[in-house]
Amino acid sequence: MPKHYRPAGKKKEGNAAKYITRTKAVNYLQVSLAIFRKLCILKGVFPRQPKKKVEGNHKTYYHTKDIAFLAHDPLIEKFREIKVHRRKVKKAVAKKNRDLADRLLNRPPTYKLDRLVLERYPTFVDALRDLDDCLTMVHLFAALPAVDGERVEVKRIHNCRRLSHEWQAYISRTHSLRKTFISVKGIYYQAEVQGQKITWLTPHALQQVLTDDVDFNVMLSFLEFYETLLGFVNFKLYHSINVNYPPILDPRLEALAAELYALCRYMSAGSRRMIGNSQTDEVMEDKDEKSKAEEVIKEEKVVKNKASSKADESELRLAQLQHQLPTNEPGALMNLVEESTADDADDDDTKDCKGLFKNLKFYLSREVPRESLLFIIPAFGGTVSWEGEGAPFKEIDEDITHQIVDRPTQSHVFLSRDYVQPQWVFDCVNARIILPTEGYLVGRVPPPHLSPFVDNDAEGYMPEYAETIKRLQAAARNEVLPLPGIGDEDLDNSLVAAMMDRTASNEAAEKKRKLEMLEKQYIDELKKEIDGVAFSSLSNKEADKSPNAKDDTQSDREEDASKQEEDDDDDIGTALMSRKQRGLYKAMKMGKEKKKEKVELLKKRKKNADSGASSKKRH
């Protein structure tokens, strides 16, 4: 460790002075290794890799200034206090001094991590940039059970659950969700908050099994910091939309396992009250009338529900009076949609997301993942309800446009709505259009669920369904994409026509007519596809095969000639390069070849899948 003064010739210099091993750091700080690890996690200190490892390659090195940074932190003293306190409790219990043990347990030393958050993230945008891991960890622990043996506390799990719901309610309220993807690990979401893209992973709503192979101490240290960080972020975000934080939920909805819905109602009530305060007296008068009507409704409810328990009523009244929550009426969620139209200061992306599911009304069956869809559908402007008490509307409501089901048989089928599988919602969100529901109906195998995080152009491989979605998107924008390859052929035709005689020009004119016919046919197919016609397109595709075969022979000859020219050009180019440049060029070539091999593998799999499907159809 650094000394105050040493004469020349006896100083430590270079890496020996800059870096320190873990053992020496722990000894210098006079804490145990577990506490040292916790401190490093909370303060964001991580091991370094010096170029010259003074004491051997097998050791872990820390920067000396990082260790000095840890030494001056008040947390070290607090951790020492905690250790001493535990020892006192243990001694009191051993001496059978129960009173002293109880007194000590009632006053444990505690610490707060607020200062660390401000220290590590000076500005809010810095915190948002680092929020991916935080959100993933919080959502994971929200789904974990509190099990004996592990040090996962019950309070912490409830806190994580609350924080994750609050975050989801904010994203849903501000329509900031951009991408979703269902994978084996869980459901990925991507949101855009104040210009920062935040991606997190939520476990599936099934039971999580803890194994012995995971060291939870490290995860719990990270979680401790992340809980504080997410609390600060939620505070800032809620106040940016004029909603008080922390929210107080309707206890009745909370008891009915509808926390996310309760949060949405709280946010709409809070923002409405804020808007009301800023408007004129006339609006205040309207509000008074509304409050009078609400009072009348309350009186009627009191008369009707004399038999219900008084304690619940009093709690509900207290919550409503404190925050002027609207009563739980059918269609209360429609207010969210009405208010969302009032906001004008939104960017284009948010407007697109806000209007995707506008005017659509969803009903969730029991077996679909409710929490996920309750998060996604309001984030894109839709209205949603579910089975059970506390839901805004019931299954028999005739305005429902879509019912999300995942069960082979239905108890009752309404003709005025579409019965679709949950994947339809996720695919619509990723495509930003309302996809046709035909492929997602009950009992059918849905189309492949494509990842929105893959850039198909950069990959060089475009799945078939991605092309279909692209065409649907273009149709939604009232555009018509040209047939693939038309531009190239036009160029070829124009080049060749300059060198041909009259008979050749006549043949070129005939080709153009054929291409125009093909283009018209393509546009007709596109329109039919939008309408949902499935079988006629197959027969059209079969008709398309024969003219393509004729073109192949000519293109082969042209390809041979072009290959020779390319090889000659390559040889000339590489001859002029230096050795370094030649190596770099070779590496680039290898990278491109690897990518091409990947694409070929995907295409091969596609062919195998198609042949398998066709053989199944024959049987």
Partner: protein, 262 residues
């Protein structure tokens, strides 16, 4: 120092075939070391836990018990039995239809291990043989009578939908083909309960929460829930809850207790 640096710079990347420029896929040595260390730690951790469990069992076996302990245990059993009979005679419990909910969640609370055979039999019928376990029951006359029999060792009440859902999603274990399994997939639930129209975890929750026609099958499918011991050990007095203790009927306050234990 310099020699080490030179050796490091001379590390040769393995080639697929001599003469060609292709590289084999390789992983850095430090990463491989880390993986090996993690695997070793997992093995050591498992062994350490097993040793701990075995030591706890051995300590119980070796304990010396004196004759006064046996006498006291016998007298406690007799006293519990007499109190049970008195409770059954004196207590007038309300009819099952008058209760606020048909769903009851019963938790075995810590207490003595010396039970009268009759009480132990009733606890086994309720599947509450281990401390800090809970089961869902339908509120019938017979069930309420049984709960009255075992009142000093059990606490029960009416859970709300949130706690029912959280218990089943986080602590539920299914019982199928004479083996318990975690509810990590809907396939096994469909195999076990598909005949009754229950095909997924949410259906189980719905059946339990609404006490539907197949409540018995769904409840028997779920093994007793293992609950976590709270941080500060509860007093768990054997007096009834309304008299300041921890046992017996809690009504809706069972939700607070469940949130502490789950």
């Amino acid at each position: 120092m310099g020699a080490d640096g030179e050796e490091a710079s001379r590390i040769v990347v393995p080639m697929a075939v001599e003469g060609t420029s292709e590289q084999l896929a390789f992983v850095e040595e430090s990463k491989l070391q880390k993986r090996k260390e993690n695997a070793d730690w997992a093995v050591r951790n498992r062994e350490r836990r097993a040793v701990k469990r075995q030591r706890i069992r051995d300590e119980h076996k070796v304990t010396v018990r004196r004759p006064e302990d046996f006498v006291a245990a016998f007298r406690n059993k007799e006293r519990d039995f007499l109190r049970m009979r008195t409770r059954l005679k004196v207590r007038k419990q309300p009819p099952a239809e008058a209760l606020s909910s048909k769903l009851v969640f019963a938790i075995r609370i810590p207490g003595s291990v010396d039970l009268h055979p009759h009480i132990r039999k009733v606890l086994r019928k309720l599947r509450l043989t281990t401390v800090l376990t809970g089961v869902f029951l339908r509120a019938t006359e017979l069930t309420l009578k049984r709960l009255l029999v075992v009142e000093p060792f059990v606490t029960y009440g009416f859970p709300n939908l949130k706690n029912v859902k959280e218990l089943i999603y986080k602590k539920g274990r299914g019982f199928f083909d004479k083996e318990p399994f975690p509810l990590t997939s809907n396939d096994l639930i469909e195999k076990a309960l598909g005949d009754h129209g229950i095909i997924c975890l949410e259906d189980v929750v719905h059946e339990i929460a609404t006490v539907g026609p197949h409540f018995r099958e769904a409840s028997r499918f779920l093994m007793p829930f293992r609950l976590k011991c709270p941080e500060r050990r509860l007093q768990m007095k054997r007096k009834p809850y309304k008299d300041g203790g921890d046992s017996g009927d809690r009504g809706d306050k069972i939700n607070e207790l469940i949130e502490k234990l789950n």
